[in-house]
Amino acid sequence: MVLILARKDDFTANMLKDHFKNLNIPCVLSNQMNKFQFGLTADCYGETWLSLQYGENTISSIINRGMATDEDTFNNSETTAAWWSVMASFKGPVINRPSRLGFLPFVESNVITKQLNYLQPARIVYSNTAAELAFEDDPLLTCNIHSAYNNKYLGHLVADSCLNDDEAYKFTGFNLDNTHSFLIAGDDHYCLSHPEGITSPEFEPVLTDIKTELQKYNANFYYLVLEDTEQGYCLTHTSPFPSYELYKHIADQVEHSLYKYLLS
């Protein structure tokens, strides 16, 4: 049985679950640990054994969509920690397996940029005040806004953007004309601006390099935004939480790639 570890209201996770159900693949979507029975034991040399059951069903593969919750309770911390240990120690395939670096493989774009000697993104600013000032000197730049609180995309920066100084935002500047978005799904990758997801040959070596870097972090369901400038490549944005809306035009292919990985 496939476990999609996600919140019930995670639309992307629900679409994945529907896909598996349509293929008659047993699948459960949940992050409620008390619906599962598990035992993770370790001997004194650090070798581990894990059993993970959902009722009578043994979990054979997992898609990790995170435990995001606003609840800060003891039980929530313990459950999150337990899922982290369980998924990190799981012997079967896991999409976005937790590691020592985090529950979800958040790999900041600047980390990969440094590893692969790409250009630093044109502008990344975290601010709670007047961030638009940082971008007004370059009218060619588009500026995306993400919440620093939960990393959610909030929109483009425009003159009347309704931002207040009550929280910090991440502002990312880029040139829209040179920017391409990609999705890593299992061992495959897709160009999201192409109707069939086909990546042009010029980007293949770049994506292979990035995928190799991401694999070090167990990141294999990943959204990437790459800017192709005259000076070189620039990784503008990365996210381990791709949304269905980004890939709905090639959803069957993406979901098949994920399933293929789960069978590996």
Binding site: M33, Q37, T41, E78, W84, S85, L101, I124, A134, A148
Partner: protein
């Protein structure tokens, strides 16, 4: 000049700041509680620059040569959801920035996060260093727990996350309520009888202290005996490697020594250790090592030279 980022409500942060100042190190203090409540933040990643402003006092990142950061997520203690969101967003932005900058930071907030999940943390670090660890079982299943308990010669139990819980020795009456673990998983570990050891590593220096206690969890009682102890080579080598591997210059690493075999069992490594008691007993060797580390400027990242000060906005 060093920028110290933390909260003055944190005794460990205050202890370190006092130690740095007592060694004539020039420091500015950025209290994250005040920053989150009423400050402004501007962190620029492309030209690696930052400024913070609290009550008309502006802290310009370009003026600092090093940072002591004890960045704790205090958002859960916020008095309203809006303040909680603000504190959390500032915290997330700061931890990314402090892990990206080109000056030495003790400790950069992003690195090994696995201390949040104790069993995986122990397994990953113990096996990477060929250290022993206590036999362990994390479960929400009473049968699995009971089977593990029966195989062990004494068991302790505790929470599996980084939220503080006391380790307790399993008593027969605890088995009567073992079914409760279906609601919240519990970490069981085979009892290792013998002293605890805390090793603090600062860069390439290690300071160890043995703790003899009448309690299973020495943190729960007063009257423990503390003694300095020599560290076996395999343990010391692993501790120094852990600091390098995680790019975390300051760690507090816990072990138990089994009293009959004298074997060391790894428990956990903490990148925000509350070390002040150990420091006082050692004659301030640990805080001296922290001061020296910050002075040495060894861990350059992106390479720019900076000066610093705290000036009115």
């Amino acid at each position: 000049m060093i920028l110290c980022i933390g909260t003055m409500a944190d005794q460990t942060f205050c202890h370190t700041v006092r130690a740095l100042m007592s060694k004539n190190m020039k420091c500015d203090i950025l209290d994250i509680g005040l920053l989150f409540l009423s400050g402004d933040i501007h962190l620029s990643f492309h030209d690696i620059d930052a400024s913070f402003c609290i009550n008309h006092l502006k802290y310009d990142f370009s003026n600092y040569k090093g940072m002591y950061a004890r960045l704790v997520d205090i958002s859960a203690q916020a008095s309203s959801p809006a303040l909680q969101k603000r504190a959390s967003s500032f915290y997330q932005a700061l931890r990314k920035f402090l892990s990206h900058i080109d000056i030495p930071v003790l400790n950069p907030p992003i690195g090994d996060q696995s201390n949040f999940t104790k069993l995986y943390h122990s397994v990953a670090i113990a096996s990477a260093n060929n250290w022993l660890m206590p036999r362990s079982c994390l479960t929400n299943n009473a049968e699995t727990a009971t089977a593990f308990i029966e195989k062990c010669n004494g068991v302790i139990y505790k929470g599996c996350s980084s939220v503080k819980t006391w380790a307790r020795k399993l008593a027969p009456e605890d088995l009567e309520r073992i079914e409760l673990i279906t609601k919240c998983p519990v970490l069981f570990q085979e009892l290792v009888t013998g002293p605890d050891v805390r090793i603090h590593v600062v860069g390439e220096e290690a300071f160890a202290e043995k703790i003899l206690s009448s309690s299973v969890d020495y943190r729960t009682i007063k009257g423990n005996q503390y003694e300095s102890i020599d560290i076996p080579p395999i343990i010391k080598e692993g501790c120094l490697n852990l600091v390098k591997e995680t790019a975390t210059p300051f760690l507090g690493i816990d072990f138990k020594i089994e009293q009959n075999s004298n074997e060391w069992y790894f428990l956990e490594a903490n990148n925000l250790p509350c070390y002040q008691g150990y420091d006082v007993r050692s004659g301030y060797k640990i805080s001296s090592a922290i001061t020296n580390w910050l002075k040495r400027n060894k861990y350059k990242r992106y390479g720019k030279d900076k000066n610093l000060s705290c000036v009115p906005a």
